[in-house]
Symmetry: C2
Subunit: 287 residues, 2 copies
DNA sequence: ACCTGTCATACCCGGTAGGTATCACCGCAT
DNA sequence: ATGCGGTGATACCTACCGGGTATGACAGGT
């Protein structure tokens, strides 16, 4: 019962994701035959069939799905180990950067909270250096898992806190961000039913984990694009209250009475034991 | 920036735990020179010094400590991936055992709760087969992490729920289990101060993660040994209320007014997506 | 000084990961 | 039907590297 090797997991996940040995081999920078052999070898060692080689392509068996899922976790853990070790040893350029934290935040969210947090923490005695790592819309989980970040500001229910330790920081309502001239912009409040499925204002779509959800609305990549499209009267969006800070002149914000509240939390890998991290969390909860 | 290999992590953790290349090599079933080389190679690839080779033995650098910690997580993740995949493929003997959960429970704890849970769950339509895996005193976390178990009954504050999803099931007080003839056994209630550091009844010590904590009390391995020693008047112990079910005639139980309450939870790896697991958790919370 | 215990170095060998060439198999077009 | 393109599997070879043995370097204790 010898353990899986990381290399084998890399190979398997490549094949499982591509469902095609040739493309997977290309992605891995190797030839196809050794890849086929490696997967066969893996299946023999596990005593389990992972892939269904049908003439019409490759598909995952049940065990293969399990391995894809669990293997990704193992891969993340291994790359996180490497990254954090390199950083702890100061192999990232300047030497000995022990006292440093990487904080992942959504690019345009929680501006004021972040500012207050950084200011307050910098005033602490012995504060570590905080590197702010801007992340995409829901990339923070991945960043924490694979070691690119040590700690993150996450927003339930958009981010999932599963597998992390966290402390709640703030809770806020949500607003509908509409074109200033739109009839609904004059209302005092709105409900989700009012803004869902408006034919003239379809909800914009963000990429989640690399792909766009289906829907009628325009696809946007960042918040500036979205802001422009709203100002042009092409779409609308639902955002936490704090988004008011970046609204344009052509925008109108109307509170939503029944939108789920957005909880901003500070989250970190459950097993972290860093002193600097503990200090940052303490500062954050005192704000 | 090629990834660490599991083999390298195994080697490094062995050395980091033994702090001795020879013993580590023996534990790994290999000779010492290749082990030394492997560690050097690892240090060169990470660009970081992990071990301080001092004349008088080996010690961990800061980066080494980080790698030991993170590496263990990666090792656990990899072995969990292998184990769960094998099980999903039915490679553990009988074929295709997809619908099966391994539940880790402390050997002699929560007897009645466990009984009720298993009965209730078995009555559910489409219930999976539950394999009950008895665990040591605080071994459940490890079992969940490395895939030996899918779900566990854990007892805060003895087990740490960090890194797992969980649902609280019951809360109970604690009792002092004393020899029946002891003067304190006649009391209606006791406080922690009453029973801490009694010269005639030192608290027994359980092994935690393989080693015994220091102290004057006798070292016990299982709950039967402890019961015997208590009946003999040599020691005492503090247990949750539910421990009354296994008390002997020579024991006396006195409620402790200020002991921390014991919370029994059902816990599982945060990323689990198994249908059977969801059903078991639902059953448990409805008890 | 000697011996002992430690980790590092030198050198050799065999397994295996990876490459190239090719096969076996099917769907599909002509 | 029959070749063609595209798939994954097989055969075979090479080179690297992981592992073993023997030995060195170096410090402490006697």
């Amino acid at each position: 019962m010898d353990a899986l090797e990381i290399r084998e997991l890399r190979y398997f996940t490549a094949v499982a994701e591509e469902l095609h040995f040739g493309r997977a081999a290309e992605r891995l920078g190797m030839a196809q035959p050794p890849l086929s052999r490696a997967i066969q070898h893996l299946e023999r060692r596990l005593g389990v069939s992972l892939l269904e080689r049908d003439r019409r392509g490759v598909s995952l068996t049940g065990a293969g799905e399990v391995l894809l899922y669990e293997g990704r976790a193992a891969l993340d853990a291994a790359t996180a180990a490497a990254r954090r070790t390199r950083r702890a040893g100061g192999a990232d350029g300047q030497g000995g950067s022990r006292n440093r934290l990487v904080l992942a935040v959504k690019a345009a969210a929680s501006h004021e909270l972040l500012q207050k947090l950084l200011d307050a923490y910098a005033a602490e005695p012995g504060a570590a250096e905080i590197e702010v790592l801007p992340s995409g819309m829901c990339e923070q989980e991945e960043m924490l898992r694979d070691g690119r970040a040590d700690v993150a500001l996450m927003h339930a229910p958009f981010n999932s806190l599963a597998g992390f330790d966290s402390e709640e920081l703030t809770t806020e309502g949500q607003i509908a961000v509409l074109p200033a001239g739109h009839p609904l912009a004059a209302r005092e409040t709105l409900s989700m039913d009012d803004v869902r499925d408006l034919p003239d204002l379809p909800l914009a779509r963000w990429p989640r984990h690399g792909t766009y959800p289906p829907g009628p609305g325009p696809e946007v990549r960042d918040q500036t694009q979205l802001a422009q499209l709203i100002a042009l009267g092409r779409t609308m969006a639902v955002f936490p209250d704090s988004a008011r800070s970046w609204l344009w002149a052509g925008h109108a914000a109307v509170p939503l009475t029944d939108a789920p509240p957005v909880v901003t939390s500070i989250a970190w890998p459950a097993h972290s034991r860093s002193l600097a991290l503990a200090g940052l969390v303490r500062t954050a909860t005192r704000l």
